[in-house]
Symmetry: C3
Subunit: 469 residues, 3 copies
Amino acid sequence: MSASIAAHPDRLLPADPGTRAIARSLLALVEDLPIVSPHGHVDAAVLADNTPFPDPTELLISPDHYVTRLLHANGVDLSDLRVGRGKDADPREAWRIFCRHWDLFDGTASGYWLRSEFVNVLGVDDSRIDEEHADELYDRLQALVEDPGFRPRQLFERFGIEVLATTDDPLDDLAAHARLAADETFAGRVLPTFRPDAYVKFHGAGFAEKAQRLVDTAGDGAAGYEGYLRALANRRQHFIAHGAVSADHGTLTARALRMDPAEAARLFEKGLRGEATAAEADAFEANMTYQFARMAVEDGLVMTLHPGVFRNHSPESFARYGADTGHDIPFAMEYTRALQPLLADFGTAKDFHLVLFTIDETVFSREIAPLAGFYPSVFVGAPWWFIDEPDAMLRFRSAVTGTAGFSRSSGFIDDTRAFCSIPARHDASRRTEASFLARLVAEHRITEDRAVEIIVDVVDTAPRRAFKL
Amino acid sequence: MSASIAAHPDRLLPADPGTRAIARSLLALVEDLPIVSPHGHVDAAVLADNTPFPDPTELLISPDHYVTRLLHANGVDLSDLRVGRGKDADPREAWRIFCRHWDLFDGTASGYWLRSEFVNVLGVDDSRIDEEHADELYDRLQALVEDPGFRPRQLFERFGIEVLATTDDPLDDLAAHARLAADETFAGRVLPTFRPDAYVKFHGAGFAEKAQRLVDTAGDGAAGYEGYLRALANRRQHFIAHGAVSADHGTLTARALRMDPAEAARLFEKGLRGEATAAEADAFEANMTYQFARMAVEDGLVMTLHPGVFRNHSPESFARYGADTGHDIPFAMEYTRALQPLLADFGTAKDFHLVLFTIDETVFSREIAPLAGFYPSVFVGAPWWFIDEPDAMLRFRSAVTGTAGFSRSSGFIDDTRAFCSIPARHDASRRTEASFLARLVAEHRITEDRAVEIIVDVVDTAPRRAFKL
Amino acid sequence: MSASIAAHPDRLLPADPGTRAIARSLLALVEDLPIVSPHGHVDAAVLADNTPFPDPTELLISPDHYVTRLLHANGVDLSDLRVGRGKDADPREAWRIFCRHWDLFDGTASGYWLRSEFVNVLGVDDSRIDEEHADELYDRLQALVEDPGFRPRQLFERFGIEVLATTDDPLDDLAAHARLAADETFAGRVLPTFRPDAYVKFHGAGFAEKAQRLVDTAGDGAAGYEGYLRALANRRQHFIAHGAVSADHGTLTARALRMDPAEAARLFEKGLRGEATAAEADAFEANMTYQFARMAVEDGLVMTLHPGVFRNHSPESFARYGADTGHDIPFAMEYTRALQPLLADFGTAKDFHLVLFTIDETVFSREIAPLAGFYPSVFVGAPWWFIDEPDAMLRFRSAVTGTAGFSRSSGFIDDTRAFCSIPARHDASRRTEASFLARLVAEHRITEDRAVEIIVDVVDTAPRRAFKL
């Protein structure tokens, strides 16, 4: 077991011996700090109920579209992995398929996380993940997930998680969060996050029904666009009352539009009637990005924005398996012009926090670092989704630091629904931060004393600062 | 001679001693593997006839627009290099000009290949490539090209080429390929590649005449768009019968359009009459990208796509020297939205292979790796043309591996008309792959055992897998 | 003091010991070469009058929007830093604020330059830049700026500046330049640069009044567009007579348009009347980019182009502090198609020099290196503004060298209004060039002999070649 690369103390650290020695000493300062996770997709009910994980396939494979997509690319049918609606396949057979294809993950971010989970969380010998050992491994992990010590809450504690944010529907009653907060036996902070996308996109599934229910439920009796805005503001208050610190927006583009209220109201009605054009849907979404910034200035919720993804790229796979099944594909993004109306009005507003995420790496040095290096509201979001991996994280730091330094970072976000991967993800991030800083020290660009302060700042203080924790 | 950097065993390997040692041992596993070249521009007739190279200038300079373009940028007239139609200049004088400017190539990909050719293929002392030694060198190389041991077939064998694909006009009779295949004295595989660009672009030179000839020759008697589609399918069959494994498409953009057949037929007629607008020409090309994917699903030819180049940027140079004379300039590309209609219909089609090339590096991490990490049909094309050089190849691997791993690569393509550069190009690629993998091993991100497997896979298996060889 | 990283002989050099040793020896060849600065924003009058710097805050903080913007991002009011029109704040108080926030600059380009200025120019102990020592430091620097040995001319000589270009309004009489040229006690070359942006952008502040004045003053009596073109040509001659070698263009995009003169004249009149649309303003600017290229072909001034910046992004800050106060934000650029009409007509014109700058790094490998690797007129502009920092400079060299080698570089430009930062900026550039070349030597990609020649070429010869010095 000690021979596994997942347990090697120098994993992900730079090869140059002098730089590695510096990285090692920096890493030591943050390796055991508590995990602060201000953005992710774990289900609060799982923690509230301390639901056991049903089986190894459900624990590691089926819900993780990072994993299933690469298997799919290599010829595996998603049904056979129990993805989305394909729950009739045998979990053990899915596990065998995964083990047979384990080598595909070499070099990928998911491969790093999985190997780390196997070795450091599950106690598996990672030299024996293959077809031959698939059943033996399955049985062993099945026994583990049935162990009361392997329940979500026990792992939460073992992983050293201090704060974990979930992502929630605006009409969620947040009962699971309330139960957790009231539970004296549970010390962690589990915070809801307001995610209104489904109530903003005219052409999303069930928009009209959802938006109408929102107005009816929380609009203070007002109808139409006015009730809609009021309802959103009210639900944000409900989230704040349950500990929320941020609202999250997965928009198509970064565009924000200062729209005439009458025009917005007119579009909203067209949207409800299913009569809006694509351009009108985009304009309304841009209007709402502006409106959500306005609300954030008023109520203090941090605003996180992560545009630039073509959702459900494969209609066939969407029809068979539903959303979030591995075929959301990024495209080129623009922030400078898109956000100008929003930043013109709110960029210097007191206590407004706007975290800009991107999967399009080109905007880091070109747009996000320059914006965050001027506007006190703008924070540089950590590399996210496809670029949440060591090389891309190093490119990110290299791209933004010359302009914005270290003070404008959001801190790492794991953004995951794969609970057991949380420690591995934070570990990879911390090692990468240590690697980057060690290089700057080795090149005499920052002092070692300052590097010691900075690594604690970027790992521990930054997410608390950006997310008002 | 042994002092030349072109003969240094560690050339292109990383400087860090530990990483270099790993790279060296990985390189040793693939250094002498046969060359598989599934995409290039060597003329099959040259091999069929075993035509001698006429002189050093024709061997190394005039046909290689990588070389002549940088000389041109530094003030040399293309006519003086016997480029395109400028064949009246003295080849010896062209050679002198090249030698005088040899230093310009330091640091460039072409410089690496040329130096490697000089030292490792031509036996030249590369410390004496300068104006003073130009004539002596010319005489020596002239003697060499007249040597029967230096004919194309002898070099083919000496270079260890197993497979070499050419690029051919759809109406080419492929007689040279047939002769080579029938020739028992020639063991190599020389495969044609179907390249229909000239029959698709309304505003390309001679479109109407070419397209009409295609319909008349191979349309099974059908006229118009119907005959055109049939003719293309028929000619693909002709290519397949002569060993072709792929069809290559140099489109303006990556756009694919599912067009109504009647509308396509209408546009085709306008194109033939020379009455189509630029937008109509683009739409028809996008329609044909979709149609070629459909044909590829039917007949099994691998589809390679390399959009994003502004051809013949300098009208003056085009008028004087013709196409492919060094002023094709890349521009920004988009694949995610452009290819969606095609991938929606064929992305998961059985045995469909779509290799996506790009010169716009930004799409590697943002679009191509995510696409290839989901669709079983999509392969990540190796860095091509301007970015086929060591630093860009390392950036490429760094950009795609975190998302797509190693299994979705096309493998290296040399894409060259410079026959003597083929070994140098594959050598550079293999050294770069070894360098990248060595870093992952040094950083404990993959095991050395797996690196040993992966380097053989990416160098040797990947092109066979992607191109169905 | 000797412990400062700003005085470390290996600062910015690569960590690998072997590569560092090569870099050190390359650096030694250029470290003490004179400074050639062909593009910047120092005021010629300051040198002509040898005006003392008024106080430490004016010396290092207030005029440097690189510095003030990052303080602003961290909550400091620009007025408190005496930015733009905010001159009523106490300079000592501004200094205290800066010292309190000094740590923010770690890792930034500005931080490197400032630290270098403190240690190497001002003799400050950089371990004592903090709130506690702010007043002591202020007093010490106040004494220094009052020292006759610390006047601009004395620093000019001490910094080893051989050539310094300023940036000037077309109607500037260039009296300060004339005085400097006539002054036998001053050996440096201080050259004006023709910067006509304000006379080209219809919607810039005061366009109509400026353009009319230009026509009236220098139009040879001709009116309208004809007088305007003549006046610009005449003023260029005035600049040439005062030593100018280049004209600098900060356009919105890179678009150049070959416009019908009658149409251009019509637009010009609309622009004067304040009636032009945004599209018309853009078209006229594109027409003028073409016209300025034509003039450059005629009169020999080097043309520098640096598009792609959204100026005055924050209207509130613009209203309070004016232009150049830290909220100019880059956006994505395109050169290949935008410049085609200009390059079609002038790309191979004798002695035409067009230096293409960018802040959008994506165009280096994709567009600028391919253009500069073909057109004898096109030079690759050094990384500029936000990307003028070590990591980005290395990315730049990595991006362009494989295609264009070293011969097509503009050489470093410091582009600064912060006089004391000039040596630090050139030092950072030279160290980065040494680092890049050392890696190529260590990887056996260029010989050490050639690296010795190339580093002198890129540092010293390149700016003289590109800027005709």
